[in-house]
């Protein structure tokens, strides 16, 4: 079975296994590789935080004490010790739980910012951090519109910590730990195309149950994680003023102008030099 069909199947059935091997990129044509992501249905989430536990265990980070730590009382962000957090919101339609982590943008600002390609958009879609390349400049943090990359300010050998969509597990043919841990199918792993179709079908079948918007479909050019909700997204902690332009577009014009400047300015200066030399002689 080729990888594309595999992923399609995985997405369509919500199956618990999928492959994300690097060999797919090496052997097959790149056009065959479809970006993968996760669909979060916040109307299904019960706030059990099994995803937080699974994430901490999978990456050797903090494993929260879900019963006793009372963490849902405050709105949290990801930290250097926790790549994903679940927040609780009181909304018009009752309590809503929202899992947050790296959105895995299709055109990530962090990767466009990174001058060493340490922050890297893989061909399969996950945005990963490659430790040996990073020089710790933190421009990825400045650029990220979702404020996801976290830096170990307290370490002499600091790391950037962020969700990698379990890249190491994908390479072993496993699905992300959080998706696997979710007991209520609030999380679904698959290709972006399939996930969008499934999301639309859910809205279509239960139009009274959802707001008619898939967060991540267009935001900053589209993200790997997609969200369904029963309430407006600004009520559950999402920035809704980010626009639909992929962030790398903002610097494209400047970067395109660089070779032009390198041609035009020296020519201009050489011309000015000749002119001023002539003037001096006469």
């Amino acid at each position: 079975m080729d990888r594309r069909r595999f992923l399609t199947l995985a997405g369509a059935t919500g199956a618990t296994v999928a492959a994300g091997s690097r060999r797919a990129r090496a052997d097959g044509a790149p056009a065959d590789v479809e970006f993968i992501g996760v669909l979060v249905d916040t109307t299904r989430c019960i706030g059990c935080r099994s995803c937080e536990v699974a994430c901490g265990e999978a990456h050797g980070l903090d494993v929260p004490d879900v019963i006793g730590d009372g963490a849902l009382e405050t709105e949290r962000t990801t930290t250097t010790r926790q790549r994903t957090v679940v927040n609780r919101y009181q909304t018009d339609t009752g309590t809503v739980f929202v899992k947050r982590q790296c959105m895995h943008c299709w055109q990530p600002a962090c990767a466009a910012a990174c001058l060493t390609n340490a922050m890297y958009k893989t061909h399969e879609g996950p945005v990963i951090w490659r430790e040996p390349k990073c020089m710790g400049c933190r421009y990825c943090m400045v650029a990220c519109p979702f404020e996801v990359p976290r830096f170990e300010f307290g370490s002499p050998v600091p790391r950037i910590e962020k969700c990698t969509l379990c890249w190491d597990r994908l390479e072993r043919g496993l699905i992300p730990a959080c998706v696997r841990a979710c007991p209520v199918d609030a999380l679904m792993f698959g290709s972006k195309r399939d996930l969008l179709e499934i999301a639309r079908v859910r809205i279509y079948n239960h139009p009274e149950h959802y707001v008619h918007k898939i967060y991540g479909e267009h935001e900053v050019g589209g993200t790997g994680w997609l969200y369904l909700s029963a309430v407006a997204f600004e009520q559950i902690g999402f920035p809704t003023d980010l626009g639909t332009t992929p962030y790398p577009e903002f610097t494209k014009e400047f970067l395109y102008s660089v070779p032009v400047v390198f041609l035009v300015v020296p020519t201009l200066l050489a011309g000015l030099y000749r002119l001023s030399s002539d003037r001096e002689r006469t």
């Binding site: 307290g154 400047f254 300015v265 200066l269």
Partner: protein, 418 residues
């Protein structure tokens, strides 16, 4: 040299004598020339000593131990002031070399060497300050060695330009070093490189001065709309012109007084003329900058943001630190009043610092509940870096022919032939 005292029978080769003379010369030059107990030293030495201790702590225990940086404010005073503001202040070097070597504006020639030295040292020390801020500074070679080229990053461009421009500045300054060492042939060869290096350096400067502004294009959702604009690169480039000119005026006011014995009389006589010329340039570019600011303001329909404290803060920057010094410069030029021009230069420099800090730190994440304020340790380390730069500048100026010699003319041959 150790072991040189013994008396071997065979005569030493000429190069050996040459090296020995060189080492002795440099060793002699390294000794202090002036009394150590000056007010400047009494202030700067303790600050630098504390700075060194803090830098050791920073590398032993991470950035958290000395800075107030947070996950929300990953860039603080070191980036906002040392790098982003410092590079604008160092813009004088590309402007003056452009005026003198390309445009043949001869009257600025007496300040070329000091300005280039200032620019070079500014880049060396601000890049040094950047090393303190990097989490993993030992990886700084990664964007230069081939395995990690992030071509699509503005920071990649800026990093390369910093490095290349430092080399260009050093080449521009190198004839002075050669003259100091008495290396006649090297001096002659290095002088021939000047024009090409200047053209290269000016090109690099236009790109990285604007590039520092372009860095913040990616922070669109985080910077207050009064300071974010797609024209940030243009605004940064234009403001680097009057920032650089103001720094030359400011520096030129101080160093001829401090190094009185190193300045020749011709320099003193022409310096007033030079200051008026620089002030004229600053006035024109400040006006141009105001015009750009107004365009951005009107096109962005920014008046809706003027109601609150951010609006007042913005108006303070634009009126008190751009419009006012623009008028001061213009009036100073017309009346040929140097004290007014110098005051205008100081106000302009403060305004540039304010603008750069606004874009990179203050108006960045303006909605944050815990705004970043630098710790005293960040400020002390910055002060230590600036003092160290002044120490090196002073060492060079008191030894090399920076202030007291009129540099070589590029087209002397044409003149001599005539």
């Amino acid at each position: 040299m150790p072991g040189g005292g013994g008396a071997p029978a065979t005569p030493r080769p000429a190069w050996f004598e040459e090296v020995r003379r060189f080492v002795r010369f440099v060793a002699a030059e390294l000794k202090p020339r002036r009394p150590l107990a000056t007010p400047f030293n009494l202030i700067s030495i303790p600050v630098m000593a504390v700075g060194v201790v803090l830098i050791v702590i920073r590398f032993a225990r991470g950035l958290e131990s000395v800075t107030n940086l947070t996950q929300e404010s990953p860039w603080g005073f070191w980036i906002g002031f040392d790098v982003v503001t410092g590079v604008a202040f160092a813009g004088g070097a590309y402007l003056v070399t452009f005026a003198v070597y390309v445009m043949k504006a001869e009257r600025y020639r007496p300040i070329v060497r000091a300005t280039v030295l200032n620019g070079f040292l500014a880049y060396v020390f601000y890049a040094g300050a950047l090393l303190l801020d990097l989490g993993r500074p030992w990886r700084i070679v990664n964007p230069i060695i081939g395995n990690s080229f992030g071509y699509n990053s503005i920071l990649f461009l800026v990093a390369w330009h910093f490095m290349l421009y430092m080399i260009a500045e050093f080449i521009e300054f190198s004839p002075v070093v050669a003259e100091w060492l008495g290396w006649r042939r090297a001096q002659h060869i290095l002088r021939k490189l000047t024009l090409v290096t200047v053209i290269f350096g000016v090109t690099l400067s236009t790109l990285h001065q604007s590039g520092l502004g372009a860095l913040f294009l990616l922070a669109k959702s985080k910077i207050h709309p009064l300071w974010y604009s797609e024209f940030l690169p243009v605004l940064f480039l234009v403001s680097s012109v009057f920032a650089g000119l103001s720094m030359v005026i400011f520096e030129g006011t101080i160093s001829p007084r401090v190094f009185r014995d190193r300045v020749n009389r011709a320099h003193n006589a022409t310096f007033d003329e030079i200051v008026v010329g620089l002030a004229r340039g600053a006035a024109v570019t400040l006006f141009l900058y105001l015009f750009f600011k107004a365009l951005v303001f009107v096109h962005g329909k920014h008046w809706v943001y003027l109601g609150d404290a951010w609006g007042w803060w913005y108006l303070l920057e634009v009126v008190a630190f751009v419009l006012v010094p623009c008028l001061m410069f213009a009036r100073g030029v017309r009346l040929r009043e140097l004290s007014l021009i110098r005051a205008a230069a100081v106000v302009t420099l403060a305004g540039i610092a304010l603008n750069r800090l606004n874009v990179s730190v203050i108006a960045f994440n303006w909605r944050s509940a815990n705004p970043y304020v630098p710790s005293w340790m960040e400020l002390v380390i910055t002060a230590a870096v600036i003092f160290a730069e002044i120490w090196v500048f002073r060492w060079v100026v008191t030894r090399m022919p920076v202030l007291h010699s009129t540099p070589f003319r590029l087209v002397d041959k044409d003149r001599q032939a005539a």
